[in-house]
Structure formats: C-alpha cells, structure tokens
Amino acid sequence: MSERTVIPFGPQHPVLPEPIHLDLVMEDERVVQAIPQLGFIHRGLERLVKTRDYMHFVYVTERICGICSFGHSYGYSQTIERLMGIEVPMRAEYLRVIWFELSRIHSHLLWMGLAADSFGYENLFYQCWRLRERVLDIFEKTTGGRVILSACNVGGVNYDIDNSELAGISQIIQKLKRDAKPLIKALVKDRSIKDRLVGSGYLSQEDAVKLSIVGPFARASGVEEDIRMFGVGGYGELAEFKPQTSTQGDNYARVAVRCNELLQSCDIICEMIDKIPDGPICEKPKGNPPEAQGIGRVEQPRGEVVYYVKGNGTRFLERFRIRTPTSQNVAGMVQLLQGCELSEVPLNILTIDPCISCTER
C-alpha cells in the first residue's frame, strides 16, 4: 500500500475565477479523495435584507457575483413580481431576455477562455476574451456599466434601447457568431485538445440524477432539464426552444454543450430583436410585499437558480435566499475528482463552471 500525501489546491489558482480550497488526498499521482472547503468569500449578504427595502435590495443582488450579475437581479425581480402580482410590460420582458442572453454569451466565452488556459492554450484564451469585449461594449453602450448593469428592477427595466440601436446590436451579434465559429472549431476539433478531453471526468446519467446536478454539467450527461423550456417571462414568446444535451458525459461533452448554447443564444437574441413590440418599459409597484412565501427559478449560464422570498407586510423582506447551481454541483465535482490524475484536477474543477461568490453570498 503506497503512502498517502495531502496536497492543498487553492484558494488561489490561475484556473479558478473565485477562491475555493480543496485538500487532495493522493496516492502517488492519483487522487483518492478530495475534501472541499469554502468560506473565503462569505459576505453575509442575506442579512442585508433587514436594512434595505425590497426595491433597493435589487442593487445588492446584482453585486453578489460579477459574472452572473444580471441574472440575479432578473430572478429576484421575477420572484417579487410573482409574489405581489405585478404584470410586467411586454417590451420590458423582451429587453430582459436580450440582456440575459448577452450575459450568457459573455459568461460562456469567459469559461471557454479559462478552459483553454487550464490545459495551456493561451492563444485561444486571449482570443475568446477579446471576442467577449464586444459584448461588454454593448452592455456599456446600452446601460452604462460593463459588468454591473443596474438595468433590471421590480416592475420592469430602467433603460430603453431604441429600435435603430437594436438593429445595430443584431448586426454585432451576427458578426460575433461568425467570428466565434473558428474558436469553437479550435476547441472542439483540434486533435491535441481531443486527446485531453475525451474520456476524462466521466459522470453517468444515474449519478447525475442521484446527486441532483443542474446546468450544462447535467445536460452533458443526458439529463434534459432547462428552466427556459417552461416559457416563463419573455421565453414564452420564442418560436421553439430545445435544450442542448449530449449523452457522452465526459469533459468533451461539457465543452461541446456550452459551445452549442453560445451559438443558440446568438439566435435567440436575433429572434427577440426582430419581434420586439413597442410600449412602456416599467410598471411601478404599489404597496409592500404581502405576508406570503414565494419561489422563483431562472436558468443562469451555470444552471438553475432558485430564489426563495418571504414577505411580512412591511417594506423590508423577512427572508431571502438564493440557491445557486454550484452548491449542488460541488457534490458532483467531488465525485469527479475521485480517481483522476493530478494533472487533470484543474480541468475537472473547471468543467462544473464554479462560481463560488454566488454560492457563498
């Protein structure tokens, strides 16, 4: 029986967007067990609900995470609107979907760059991030901020985009789709990358269902679940929506699923821009949240996010909780790491797309 050593991984590592610590129990070059440790970025944001009223709290939800920023304000607004029975104008729903899908494109491009960096392909890393700058410029032109948009609010959106600018955005996105295709081809068809990705980090469909995994991590193992297919909000206006899945279940499948989602998002944005109606963009809420509990769900780039809201009749909420996809996927990640080699550890951690600052609000 060979000797066991413990190697610490993180919290600082070039491949991680946010800090997480893992103790890897190794036998020679194989990982026998991985023990996660979190808590480096816990800021206690849920307690702020007692001092910020429900309209101002949307600014706190935006600042939970930099990559998933718009998604959190979108989900929070949707949940409060359902609790209070507010109807949002159609144009606001379309605009929200456009910004949300742009947010998905920028998150997947960021992830593709990090994935390329994790096995040493720095040229592809920078090309992906260079393409992402076009999306951040669109954000800044329309809302004024590159990362924190402050665009979504309870009752609608804060900024309007006029139709000529929308046509310009449609052109930019079509060009982005054409320019993203060589990068996706490099990531998916290159022989040396395929040698690294195919066959490593395998998770079967039964394990994915038992560990209740969500997001592209689960869709790559054959679980066909995506909140966008239930047609909530602006997604009900799409002609058809089919989630991208794969049955292979290894790292290659996860890369392929995210690349396909990126191309699908470009199509969704162009479809929404063609169909957008005219009208107001905001319906001011009246009164306070009632004494009731409510659940809202949204499909973020990393998976399904669940928002639980409890009101008590005053303008401060009683309780607000976000359940992020990474908190479910950590269990799957620990499963993936058992039995892999040390050089595969960064890639296996990155395939779940960890967003630790959302997880540990």
Partner: protein
C-alpha cells in the same frame, strides 16, 4: 481532426493593429451612457430631499436649514436612482470616472440666495459681504423716497 487550427488567425493578428486601446497615450473615450459620477446644478435644486431618501447607500445628504446638498463620491454606486427621480432634473450622470480619492471624498454645494447680485458663497470674505450690505442698505433707503 485538425491541428494548429488558430494558425490563420494568429498570422492575421501579427500584421494588424493592436486590439487594446493605447491608453494613456491616447485619451480614454467613454460611451455616452457610461455612468461615471453624479453632478448637480445647484441653482435649480429645490431641496425637496427625494434624492436623499431614494439613495440606497446613503451617499447624498440634503440639509434644508443650511441649503446644502452634499455627496460622498466613495459611497456612490452610480445606480442612477437619484437622477431619474429628481423632479426638476438638476442632477446629471457624467461620463468621466472620478479621480482617485484618499481620505475625505465628500463634496458639498450650497444653494445661493436668490436676488443677490454676486453669489454669496460660504467661503466669501467679509469685505465683500460688507460691500454688498452697504449697497443693499442704500437701495432700501432710496426706495421709500
């Protein structure tokens, strides 16, 4: 299966201009909608206090007795709430980011008194005030005659 897929792109990038903006050699050009900092046209302000109540972080303070409006630039999150709620549109969101501040970052503006010819500022010297008072006294005496 292919190898060296990015060879064409890399060769093209070698002979084209850089992707980054050459700052600080060239100046920083923000977009029109960029949220940099909040500024006020103090003459139009009616001291209603709506911006003070709507600021989510408490960066703005309005004191009616002193007729002053002050903002703490380090606390401001440029959310645009105050600008959209002002009933007389005296607040604007400028595009330039504020320069780096160390220590105090509060800027205070005092609303000038109406119908005085030169502006009476809080830092004005006593000589100027004395001159103004002399002028207005002469006018007050001249009127009833």
């Amino acid at each position: 299966m292919s190898s060296f897929s990015l060879f064409g792109t890399s060769l093209k990038n070698l002979f084209s201009k850089p992707a980054t903006k050459m700052y600080p050699a060239k100046p920083f050009e923000p977009f029109e909608a960029t949220r940099g900092h909040v500024s006020i046209d103090i003459e139009k302000c009616i001291l209603c206090g709506l911006c003070h109540r709507s600021c989510p972080v408490g960066a703005i303070t309005v004191v009616r007795e002193d007729k002053s409006w002050s903002i703490d630039a380090l606390r401001c999150i440029t959310c645009n709430d105050c600008v959209s709620r002002c009933p007389v549109s005296c607040l604007t969101m400028e595009v330039q980011y504020m320069p780096i501040a160390i220590g105090e970052s509060i800027s205070t503006f005092v609303k000038p008194e109406p119908k005085e010819e030169p502006e009476v500022e809080a830092e004005a010297g006593s000589e100027e005030e004395a001159e103004l008072e002399a002028e207005t006294e002469v006018e007050a005496e001249a009127e009833p005659e």
